[in-house]
């Protein structure tokens, strides 16, 4: 398992393009927001938590089609499927690798971009906490979407259509935590719900992803 994780991480770092791309996308989305809504700082401060969450979500979504497609194309996915490691663990590791290469950098970059959007001081810690708790769910759900569409030639657009509705609860609770934190309100309820969604997704969705992947590899 660890070998597989290291392999995926190495590929992500060395293959170029894939690693920094999500981060660059997050940056560019955030930079575009003031251009579209205007530079008034109090407006930016109000929408900052939501915009940052949406940007992180889109960046996550964008990097999903590389998650399994490359392994599918060169046939290593077939090898992984026949390896002694259960497919459920394989997809979990894949999701973990995706999170480390995409989710974690987003979490780390979010406070910096928060400065650009004039995020209130109180909001920083809760933004980071909510992203830290929420992005694993995004990775796991995204892995399910990637597994669904892995066999398709032009799967990217379809995958967005499939994955976006599944992201709704995570986005709602995640940005709610960030918003309430920024406004100095109590965050406990949405925070616990967000953590619950993440925990449940991580525990259950790999089974669905593995089942779907088996169908696709048939």
């Amino acid at each position: 398992m660890i070998a597989l994780l290291l392999r995926d991480l190495k590929l992500a770092f060395r293959a170029g393009g894939g690693f920094g791309l999500g981060l660059a996308f997050f940056l560019i989305v955030t930079v575009m927001v003031p251009f579209s809504v205007g530079p008034q700082s109090e407006l930016l401060a109000r929408i900052a938590p939501g915009v940052l969450w949406l940007g992180a979500l889109l960046a996550c979504l964008l990097s999903l089609d590389r998650l399994l497609a490359l392994d599918w194309e060169d046939g290593s996915l077939d090898l992984l499927a026949t390896a002694p490691l259960p497919l459920e663990s394989t997809v979990t590791i894949k999701a973990l690798a995706h999170w480390i290469t995409t989710g974690l950098p987003l979490v780390l970059a979010a406070p910096v971009l928060g400065v650009l959007l004039n995020l209130p001081v109180l909001g920083f810690q809760w933004l980071v906490v909510s992203l830290l708790l929420g992005t694993p769910a995004l990775s796991v759900i995204g892995t399910f979407g990637a597994a669904l569409t892995v066999g398709l030639k032009r799967g990217g657009l379809l995958m967005s259509l499939l994955v976006m509705p599944l992201y709704v609860p995570t986005l709602i609770f995640g940005s709610e935590v960030a918003r309430r934190g920024a406004e100095g309100m109590a965050v406990q309820t949405p925070l616990l719900l967000l953590a619950g969604i993440s925990a449940a997704s991580i525990a259950l969705l790999p089974f669905a992803s593995a089942a779907v992947l088996r169908v696709n590899l048939r």
Partner: protein, 243 residues
């Protein structure tokens, strides 16, 4: 006599063809009776005036929009567990009907909302969760269309339906939460079932029964079409093989 007999496409087609005319006629009669009764023989509401009458389209279509997804969930489960092709095809056949019902519910809701709430659309929890349901339907149909191998498509869409159901329910409650967080508890709730007087509820029940029958008729009809389409495909494949 068990329900699994209808897993045989031939038996399914024979039986549905027998009951189809009765289904079409009874649903047409029920819907027209319900709508005419509702539109012309109920009093105007003392506050909402005659706009209240759109309820006779709005509520039944919303009912079917949700139950169509539920039916797809059940048939998907049957496909996953027992691998009856008719079941998978029925799920496929129900999805476009469900999406149309969702659209009808959304549009009639907007038409009703405009004079009542002064807006075509509000991010009320119910409206929002219906919109999310609509997106789920779109994804489900798109996945069916995208995959060539019918068995693969059936498997993948079935699992998507199962996972999607969980997330649809989650979204329903998440949206409830989100809206309360955004502004005061919505006074725009559509759930005024309790307030509907008998004069309205009776034709409403007739309409709902009519919509249920219409849905069953449409699903039977479309499932039959899917079965025949698959037969044609098989025949053509055999012909190519022999030629």
């Amino acid at each position: 006599m068990s329900i699994w007999e209808y897993a045989n496409p031939k038996k399914f087609l024979a039986t549905t063809e027998k009951v189809m005319p009765a289904l079409w006629v009874s649903s047409a009669v029920l819907i027209s009776v319900g709508l005419i009764w509702g539109f012309f023989f109920t009093p105007d509401d003392y506050r909402q005036g005659s706009t209240v009458k759109i309820i006779f389209l709005h509520v039944p279509s919303a009912l079917m929009a949700i139950n169509a997804w539920f039916m797809m969930l059940v048939t998907s489960l049957v496909w996953v567990v027992r691998r009856h092709h008719v079941s998978a095809l029925a799920a496929r056949a129900a999805a476009p009907v469900g999406v149309i019902m969702t659209v009808i519910a959304l549009i009639t809701g907007a038409i009703w909302g405009q004079p009542m709430w002064g807006t075509w659309w509000a991010w009320d929890p119910r409206l929002t969760s219906f919109l999310v349901l609509f997106l789920f339907y779109l994804g489900y149909i798109a996945l069916w269309e995208a995959i060539d191998n019918p068995d693969t498509a059936a498997d993948l869409t079935a699992i998507l339906c199962l996972v999607g159901s969980v997330f649809a329910v989650l979204s329903r409650y998440a949206v409830n939460f989100w809206n309360q967080g955004l502004h005061q508890g919505a006074s725009l709730s559509l759930d005024e079932k309790e307030n509907v007087a008998d004069a309205f509820s009776n034709p409403l029940y007739v309409c709902m029964a009519g919509f249920v029958l219409l849905f069953i008729a449409l699903v039977f009809y479309r499932t039959g079409t899917e079965i025949r389409a698959r037969r044609i495909k098989a025949l053509m494949a055999r012909e190519r093989l022999e030629a």
